[in-house]
Amino acid sequence: MAVTETPKSAVANWRYLKPEDVTRLKSYEFAPRLLVEGYLAGRHRSPERGHSVEFKDYRGYSPGDDLRSIDWKVLARSERYYVRLYEEETDMVVHLFLDSSASMGYGDRPSKLEYSSFFTAALSHLVVRQNDMVSLTLFDSGVRTHIPPGSTRHHMSQMMHVLERNSAGQKTRLSEALRRVFPLLRKRGIVVIVSDFLDSTPDIFSALNMYLHRGHEIVLFHVLDPQEIELAGHGPVRFRDMESYEEVEADPSAIRARYRERVNTFLRNMRASATRKGIEYIFARTDTHYFKLFDHYLKRKATV
């Protein structure tokens, strides 16, 4: 198992990746549920059988097979030609999608976007530390930034720069972004989407279908601010939509119960839709530390 540590100096200045967080991340490991395919020999099993130290099986020799793969000891014992097969380990590619729409700018210390950026940076660090590759796509109504997969320090540095410069943009069109990015993902891997998913739920899962079909493992991190869920406050307030600028006047105390019920229904629908399609779904509140997401996610993976 090859694990490369990221030098402390490489993460010291990043806004979303503090040295203390890096230290804490040492105890975490990010691994896909499915097998991944890769160019470089890595720690992840690949469906392709190849050169490796991990013996898998024998099969009869066929003309054209590499003579080096013939198990001479078996030939000596049985006078038959058998070829040794090994399980090949390969690199994992994690495709990170970070929602940078206007609604992600909601919330104080941190906003949903900041919270998601912390999480994205930590996840990127974990992946790169494992010599796996990670790509990053920032989207709102379309794809704002796409960094192809990479696992170098420079790559990591580039991602951190992008995250730091990132700010909440326009209206959320996750489904549109997923469709646009799909051709750019050449290798199967893990698609991690961090968003508030304030888009049409059927459209989102419709767009995810193509990723599932391609064999990607999908993980959805649903980030919401507590205020979005609880709707605290008294007296009439004019709520202004951060994306459409539509205004609604309401007294939170009068509508709170109904609102909570409606949000819960939304969350239930998201979870149910994800479960139906075999997609990992993790819900996150910005008032909890993002490390808990790792705890939660990895605990779940262990169960799986």
Binding site: V237, F239, R240, D241, D251
Partner: protein
């Protein structure tokens, strides 16, 4: 429509303070702070539903607060409510007429209190409430509609006394007449004029009465309603006895109609009684319908026989009982004048009616008491009244003009010359009659006479309702008579010409003359020996029965009767139906003394007595129209004001202080507002 009057109008501008809650609401309503939110679609969905309830709640609170304030401010202005308008808006003395309904429907007494008593009480209230110096008169609304004084008087005590003495009648009311009387009373008065109508406004009396057309301009009409409610009533609405003048022993038919003026059908127990006759039976009467009951009784003795029909008493008891006076004559009085070939047979037949009755025992059940007298030439001085005058000799034809009779039979000579019978109305009964001088053949062939009357009526030769073929033996002898115009052939021969056998001529005064064209002597005819002869004579005699003057009268009638010579004139008295009695005025009428009764206003029997001797019995019955207690809408005129029964006159005149109601309303509204606020707070608390 009711109206309000404000005692303290200068406080009215303060009602503008009612806008205070709205202003406070608008001022207190802060513009809510704007707050960015990631996605308002959920809020939008919910807020739309919630606002649907929230806004009306806010509106309700404002309305409650505004209403409470308004009611409070209005209460301080001390308003007075006039339920039916301010009927005494004219201040100062006035001339007034109070029309008080005393028709029979005013006797309706639900719960024991008569409508008439309520009317009197309300009338006295009117008198008491008139301003000082006013003058007033009372007009009784009944069949006659008489005024008390004829001119408005300031003597209120006399007016009150007149009201105290007033009594309800059993007659009908004539509103138009009463209104005209009131107009007449007020016509020369120059002050403010008012007519108060205190009535139950019974539909049968008031329908079609146009107050505006009767009342001239300048007279205010105030309709004061008395118990104008839908009231059910059952009544005996008619009682009839036929014949109304009967002979002693004659069968009389009593028919009574029972009406149900209510929406509930049911059985009514009907009791009928007369002299020696009493029956009771249940009669089913449908809702708003009528039923008829019939009985047969025997006219017992001569004199006045009272038949009474009654039903179970209800709240209007006056019409639950009806009476009828049947005039019973001891016998028919027949005068026989002159002689002829057939006169003996007529005389024998008439006498036979007395002895044997008409017909044999199997076919006839009647016995006609007849008193036959032979008369000579009756002069003007002869005052005897005959039921039937039989003239057997054309020399006595003058009797047709001089004698007093109800019906006459003129026998045509069997062998004589044709003659005319001149009638008093200028007609001749028989014109150019040709008397056959020879025996004729049997033309009837045993089938007898056809019996016909004026309107194809079959003459009932046999009593008991049997009519038709008397199976006559052959008839010999007839005359070729032509029926003159204006007469009808009662009997005719079965020949080709339908030769008249008995001609009936009606005089204009109602009397009847029969021209007899049937040979009676045995050599010419055997009709006198046939079994048709006696019934025919009996029938004619009964039809000629002189009707006596009816003693069944409508309310208000003032009848009179002859006091017989044997009566003690000093002891003549009239006993009213209620048991009281009075002495009638006696006066000579011709050669006899007559007692004149006062107007009959109590339903029942008025008996004229002289000691133990009953001279006459008069019956008075209520008007059937008065039994239908359905009411019309009072007033109807443009200038009329209606004070309903539920509104007291003082309230209509002085109004009802309305401020306590407004104060109460303000308290209730504030209480509701408080409750609404508490509930809303509690609900908001639960929501958090």
């Amino acid at each position: 429509m009711g109206m309000f009057s404000i005692t303290m109008p200068w406080l009215l501008p303060l009602t503008m303070l009612a806008a205070l809650p709205v202003i406070i609401h608008l001022l207190a309503k802060r513009k809510p702070p704007r707050k960015p939110f990631p996605d308002v679609r959920f809020l939008n969905e919910i807020a739309r539903v919630v606002q649907r309830f929230e806004k009306p709640r806010d509106l309700l609170l404002i309305l409650l607060r505004t209403g409470a304030l308004l009611a409070l401010l209005a209460a301080f202005s001390l308003p007075i409510y006039y339920p039916r308008g301010r009927i005494l808006s004219v201040t100062g003395a006035r001339d007034a007429v109070i029309i008080v309904d005393r028709s029979m429907s005013m006797q309706y007494a639900p719960g024991g209190l008569r409508r008439f008593d309520q009317a009197l009480a309300r009338s006295k209230n009117i008198v008491d409430g008139l301003p000082a110096g006013s003058r007033v008169d009372v007009v009784w609304l009944d069949a006659t509609s008489k005024a008390f004084t004829g001119k408005p008087t300031e003597n209120m005590a006399a007016v009150r006394n007149e009201l105290d003495r007033g009594e309800v009648t059993c007659g009908k009311g004539n509103p138009a007449s009463a209104l005209r009387t009131a107009v007449k009373v007020l016509e020369d008065q120059s002050r403010a004029r008012e007519v108060y109508i205190v009535s139950d406004f019974q539909a049968t009396n008031w329908r079609g009465v146009d107050i505006d057309s009767i009342m001239p301009r300048g007279i205010n009409v105030i309709c004061v309603d008395v118990d104008n409610k839908v009231a059910g009533n059952k009544a005996v609405v008619s009682l009839n006895v036929t014949p109304s003048t009967a002979l002693a022993g004659e069968t009389i038919t009593i028919s009574a109609r029972i009406a149900n003026y209510s929406s509930e059908p049911g059985s009514v127990s009907v009791l009928v009684k007369s002299e020696g006759f009493r029956r009771q039976e249940d009669v089913y009467v449908s809702a708003w319908g009528e039923a008829e009951a019939l009985w047969n009784a025997i006219a017992a003795a001569s004199g006045d026989q009272v038949v009474e029909v009654g039903i179970t008493r209800d709240d209007l008891s006056t019409d639950d009982h009806r009476c009828f006076t049947v005039r019973v004559k001891p016998s028919l009085r027949v005068a026989l004048a002159g002689e002829s070939a057939g006169s003996n047979y007529i005389e024998d037949a008439l006498n036979a009616l007395v002895e044997r009755g008409a017909g044999d025992e199997k076919t006839s059940r009647i016995s006609v008491p007849v008193m036959v007298e032979k008369v000579g030439d009756a002069g003007e001085a002869d005052t005897r009244v005959w039921d039937l005058l039989v003239i057997c000799d054309k020399a006595r034809l003058k009797l047709l003009e001089t004698a007093k009779y109800e019906g006459a039979i003129v026998l045509v000579d069997e062998e004589g010359e044709p003659y005319n019978i001149p009638l008093s109305d200028g007609r001749n009964v028989m014109v150019g009659a040709a008397v056959g001088g020879k025996r004729s053949r049997n033309v009837a062939e045993g089938r007898g006479f056809h019996l016909s009357g004026g309107e194809d009526e079959i003459l009932k030769v046999f009593t008991g309702g049997v009519s038709g073929d008397p199976s006559l033996p052959t008839i010999f002898g007839y005359r070729d008579m032509k029926t003159p115009e204006g007469t009808s052939t009662v009997l005719f021969y079965q020949d080709a010409k339908h030769t008249p056998a008995l001609i009936r001529a009606g005089l204009k005064d109602g009397r009847v003359i029969y021209v007899w064209n049937i040979a009676l002597s045995p050599e010419r005819s055997n009709f006198a020996g046939s079994n048709t002869f006696l019934p025919l004579i009996a029938e004619i005699a009964m039809r000629c029965k002189t009707p006596l003057e009816s003693r069944t009268l409508a309310p208000g009638a003032s009848p009179s009767c002859r006091v017989p010579a044997e009566a003690d004139t000093s002891a003549v008295a009239v006993k009213r139906p209620d048991g009281s009695s009075y002495k009638p005025s006696l006066a000579m009428e011709g050669e006899s003394l007559a007692a004149a009764l006062e107007p009959m206003n109590i339903p029942g029997v008025y008996t004229v007595l002289s000691g133990d001797l009953t001279i006459a019995q008069f019956t008075c019955n209520p008007w059937p129209e008065e039994s239908d207690l359905r009411n019309a809408v009072p007033g109807g005129g443009k200038s009329t004001v209606v004070v309903p029964a539920s509104v007291s006159l003082s309230a209509a005149r002085e109004g009802v202080p309305f401020w306590p109601y407004l104060l109460g309303a303000a308290i209730v509204l504030l209480g509701l507002e408080n409750l609404a606020v508490t509930l809303l707070r509690r609900k908001r608390g639960a929501g958090e």
